[in-house]
């Protein structure tokens, strides 16, 4: 039990981070049909905000507040300069955001260098109950992720904004006729999606090594989670993230990281192929 418990916690914290990343992707994909290949880089930039603030000497918690603001603002710029012009060409958004991801990655290499950086843990202690002990920060990380995921769900299911957003997803033309400014909804959904990525990157920065290539390692599992879970309902992300993240981490512990990665990708591809609407059903993407 004492051996199993940390593993379960590790797996859960990975799943929660994956869900955070995937949730941002999903909002953008579900809402606008835009595949944002630069999402992993926005996640990475969130982590680099922490690196930069640490260099300046600002406290960790200031970074947690600033990272989503900075990355969200970057999202606003990206939406206004790039995405807005290619809404109607979904396949081209893959390519254009791919070019953007290459450029962002290289920009970070030029600013911070290609080597990996580390962010020191804001809280050092661990929680100890009997013989069992677990790093405190990881528990804080998990709690914050749960709160964030909950807040996002609340935003999209319980508020006026969420109602309008879901109207735009379901019937864009009808929603526009009823006076909803769809372009504005697209813009703010994109900003929320990117801010989530930035915050996820900032939160996870102390427990991973931060390097310019880290985005891809979350982007592809993030997409697979969405497609496995189903691109329709928000809850699909939870299921997809749990399948992709859970299988990956458990197999990495039991067999090897390589076997885990290959198995997860193959399983995900099979599920997507055999059930394109995802485990949770929902409409099929265009």
């Amino acid at each position: 039990m004492n051996e199993l418990f940390p593993i379960i916690l590790d797996v859960s914290s990975y799943i929660l981070i994956l869900v955070l990343v995937a949730l941002g992707l999903m909002i953008v994909f579900g809402m606008m049909g835009v595949i944002n290949m630069a999402h992993g880089e926005l996640f990475m930039i969130g982590a680099y905000v922490m690196v930069a603030l640490q260099d300046v000497g600002l406290p960790f918690w200031a970074g947690i507040l600033l990272a989503p603001v900075i990355v969200g603002f970057l999202g606003l710029l990206i939406e206004a300069a790039l995405i807005r012009h290619i809404y109607l060409r979904p396949l081209d958004t893959i390519l254009a955001t791919w070019g953007l991801s290459i450029a962002l990655k290289q920009l970070v290499v030029l600013t911070f260098g290609p080597e990996s950086q580390s962010v020191t843990l804001p809280v050092d202690g661990s929680l100890e109950i009997g013989a069992f002990s677990y790093p405190l920060y990881r528990l804080i990380l998990m709690a914050s992720s749960v709160l964030l995921i909950g807040a996002t769900f609340w935003l999209f299911t319980r508020t006026d904004f969420g109602l309008m957003a879901r109207a735009v997803i379901a019937r864009p033309a009808t929603a526009a006729t009823l006076g909803i400014d769809t372009r504005r909804m697209y813009r703010w959904s994109f900003v929320i999606g990117t801010a989530l990525a930035g915050l996820a990157g900032a939160l996870v920065a102390p427990i991973i090594s931060v390097d310019p290539q880290m985005g891809l390692g979350y982007l592809v599992p993030g997409f697979l989670s969405i497609l496995v879970g189903g691109a329709g309902p928000l809850a699909g992300v939870l299921v997809g993230g749990a399948v992709v993240g859970g299988v990956n981490n458990l197999l990495a512990v039991w067999i090897s990281p390589v076997a885990a990665m290959i198995t997860v990708y193959v399983i995900a591809i099979l599920i997507i192929r055999l059930k394109p609407e995802g485990i949770m059903g929902g409409r099929r993407a265009k």
């Binding site: 049909g33 595949i35 790039l82 012009h85 290619i86 060409r89 979904p90 396949l91 081209d92 893959i94 390519l95 254009a96 955001t97 791919w98 070019g99 953007l100 991801s101 290459i102 450029a103 962002l104 990655k105 290289q106 920009l107 290499v109 030029l110 891809l216 592809v220 997409f223 697979l224 497609l227 390589v258 990665m261 290959i262 990708y265 193959v266 995900a268 591809i269 997507i272 192929r273 394109p276 993407a285 265009k286």
Partner: protein, 324 residues
Amino acid sequence: MRNNLVALLIFAALAASPLVIGSYWTGQLTAYLVYGLLAISLSLVWGYGGILCFGQAMFFGIGGYIMAVLTKGMILPDLTSSYIGLLAAMAGAALFALALGYFLFAGRGISGAYLAIITLAITLVLERLMNNWYALGGYNGLLNVPPIKLTFFGASFELWDRLPTFYAVLGVVTVVYFGTSLLLKSAYGLKLTASRTHPDRLSSLGYSVLSIRLSVFALSAAIAGLAGAIFVTLDGFASPTLIGFTLSTEVLIWVAIGGKEMLLAAFLGAILTRTAESWLSEIFGNYWILILGLTFMVSVVLLPKGLLATPLEWLTKGKGKRSG
């Protein structure tokens, strides 16, 4: 007709270029021609077939590894003929594409964005697999792949020196280019266009969309496999990078910048981007990749047909006419 004339002029210029550019650049250009071949294969499947493949390098890598394994005599020590290696590389890549294509396209099938994500994931899996497949060299790859050995009527000749290698590769590229162009002008090309733009109408006319998709996927894979097989003999080694993610996305960028709906533009896109890269990366250093990424982004948004295809189309078709 004018289309072929422009292409002929370009290939003639390529054939004459070793006179001007010297030995080092001839060697470089040989490699770029092979990349151009890969770009042709992607243009065929993506621009004409409408299948956005984010993992075109997997076929390149499969061809490369098959060539390396066979000509090094790792399976059959007596059978190391380059011809058999090249044929097996093409056949192997095509068979893999058929199997993968059947899995992806049969029945309800996968298309569009889902296809891009899945092919990307498959490439990542294959790259990881090759990195850990120790019988095939693992991370280090296979070294000492022999150069291509041409034998005809008992005489044999190794493609070792730069100039003969260049012309042999140029010959292959020319044959593939004009062969593919002819094929695209035939009834098959018409069906291919229809399978991209109006698959439902095509199937209601009694054609099998699946078999058209499978055939173009396999043909494109065979060309990519051929390119990979030639490539490993140039440098003498096959490594997991051939099969992987980086090359897959690079070829996508060349083809998008050049123009995916025009074989010639895609081919030149690869050659010119590589040439620009080796010149400009010296001048701009690390900024080059930044410039490349931004150029790619801007060309997708502003010139979805491609940076090169727009002027080339004007040259080949004249004003006012559209390509079919």
